[in-house]
Subunit: 376 residues, 2 copies
């Protein structure tokens, strides 16, 4: 099986209003949001019987633009290496759907969208209701209904994306034939929660945050966001990857004097990561999309019904990476243990990759082959 | 060998001016600092022949107050479990010395001290010269001379403290009979450098930092300092330790609604760590004491002379902890490899402890026994 092929060409982001003010999205908490507009992209053609759809759930800072380009062939979607003709998500055979998440900032309604209850069109800010992973899936299911698809050939996601896939498969297994969870977690540990807590603290205590009402004010929590991203990025890459890429190399030469300025290459890299993030992501979305991960613990829910999942025949592939220390193999093993206890069809494979948690975005051959085989 | 005993009672911090404006400390860079006042404490009695002195080099956020108390028996020194009659640093036999580091903020001259060149007594701020681990040792050696001691029975330090001990033993081995390096490093990796870079970014980009001239202004980089400390603290404890202590316990009860407020116990703990740090530590000292660690790579120096160390007969004990992921056993192994290549008397022991890097501050019996045996 060949896993490479031509890259996708130009694609367009589409938008649809799935919930309105009069017929709003009802959240797990009982709160409501309306309207909810969803930005999404699709690649490939839907089969006449609708049986070839694969749904992508993106991770924390992803968006609807998973593959192809929007006019500049150099600026390509975030999962471009996985999606296309002859690739693991083979668009010659599959119809691939990728929406931006509820709460996001890349076309789908989120906390920086205008609050319909505000007379002057002010953004929601912290008045946006809290939502859960299940609420993200509710919006996905709305999009699926809009597209006229009843059952997915597969759903796939990495990190937070894998959490959505798991929740979907547990809540509506008859909609998901195959579930691919890449470096996902169903139970963040105290260290995981700690890291997102520090990131949120950096953002919320930044004076530019202005209690969440920074949208349109001309300033935002840029320092806090950059620091949050720099720290988070350190946890997404392995100590091996950083050593391979940067070791102790210095921009000013190895003999230059000690300085507080950016000197080591790894500092320059992190600084760039922090600054670039400000261009493409919103602080409120960062808060709203990280927090549900802390609370996510689906196997501890009283109503979880693995018998229904077994009856539906949903198959699970869990992939983790050996150098991932943010959501390492123990997280996937925990999920697989629970699925196996329910006699579900599941497999966990640990993939060797030096790149840590970020591996799910990279072209790691063993990983891509496993996805291709499972979706074939 | 018993390793416990009565705790030390009341102790006093002493102060001495080791360098003056006319006879300043000359730094490795050629820069000078004068006056340099040093705060230090001693425990036990110096033997008539001066042969029983053990010197403690403290870590990043330590101070001179290593043992005993200053009036409130509940508020004890940071290494109180290690120092005292019958303890590993046995004050019935040993004379223990612990100074606050150059660049610190707990009695020894540092960047928040008044700049003698300022007509209005303004603090140095970022005008304080950069210094190296070797410069820290130069001040230690000045204190030793002041105390009339020629040769140390031992020098001991954890983390940054161990770096000083190593530098001292390499530069003046005839002064150091026994060197104890606990979870030290002689070559920070890119991840290590990355974490301190994020911490410094959090501090220096905080508007309260005011380019380092916040001392006396009534405000400082408190948000940045708290975030830096919260993140650093996460790297000092192991994932196991956090799981043991906090798991997913919530202050509001396990069924309470999702919130951005502090909810999980680990969040509460980190928030406390961040706030408490503001009470006892200075942001400029944090910058000036972290940066020399990034540059520290003594075995790469052209002038390193292991033959001289061998001739002096200095013995090395290197201890690391199996769950320490900040300066793990590979850092100690790297040091030991270089010492062994110079045919020096060295031993590396990895101690089992669930508490991560912080283990060097804790009463881990195998660790304390190893120190006691080596210094006996």
């Amino acid at each position: 099986m060949t896993l490479s092929g031509p890259l996708l060409g130009r694609v367009e982001t589409q938008r649809v209003v799935l919930f309105t003010r009069d017929d709003p999205l009802v959240l797990e908490s009982g709160g409501t949001i309306g309207p909810v507009e969803v930005a999404y992209e699709t690649y490939g053609e839907l089969a006449p019987d609708g049986g070839n759809a694969v749904f992508i759930c993106h991770a924390l800072t992803g968006d609807a633009h998973a593959a192809g380009h929007h006019g500049d062939p150099e600026r390509r979607g975030w999962w471009d290496n996985l999606i296309g003709p002859g690739r693991p998500l083979d668009t010659d055979r599959l119809f691939v759907i990728c929406p931006n998440l509820l709460g996001g900032c890349r076309g789908t309604t989120g906390p920086s969208s205008p609050d319909p209850d505000s007379p002057d069109g002010r953004a929601y800010g912290l008045r946006f209701p809290h939502f859960t992973i299940r609420d993200l899936v509710t919006v996905h299911r709305g999009l699926l209904a809009h597209l006229g698809i009843e059952r997915l050939h597969g759903a796939i996601g990495g990190s937070l994306g894998g959490m959505q896939v798991l929740q979907w498969a547990l809540d509506a297994p008859e909609q998901v034939e195959r579930a691919v969870l890449v470096c996902a977690s169903a139970r963040l540990n105290a260290q995981n929660i700690g890291f997102t807590a520090v990131a949120r603290t950096a953002i919320m205590r930044d004076p530019g945050f202005q209690d969440g009402d920074y949208v349109g004010s001309g300033r935002g929590p840029d320092h806090g966001m950059a620091v949050a991203r720099m720290m988070a990025h350190l946890t997404y890459v392995s100590v091996e990857a950083l050593a391979l890429k940067f070791d102790r190399e210095r921009r000013r030469g190895q003999q230059a004097r000690q300085t507080f300025d950016i000197d080591f290459q790894v500092e320059s890299y992190l600084d760039h990561q922090g600054r670039a993030f400000l261009e493409r992501f919103d602080a409120l979305s960062y808060l709203y999309l990280t927090r549900p991960m802390d609370y996510f613990e689906p196997f501890a829910e009283p109503g979880v019904d693995l018998g229904r999942v077994a009856a539906a025949g949903t198959r699970f592939l869990l992939l983790s990476f050996d150098t991932d220390w943010r959501f390492g193999s123990e997280h996937s093993a925990y999920i697989q243990q629970h699925l196996a206890a329910g006699a579900l069809d599941s497999e966990h494979r640990e993939i060797r990759s030096p790149w840590g948690h970020d591996s799910f975005l990279l072209d790691v051959p063993e990983y891509h082959a496993a996805v291709a085989e499972f979706l074939a």
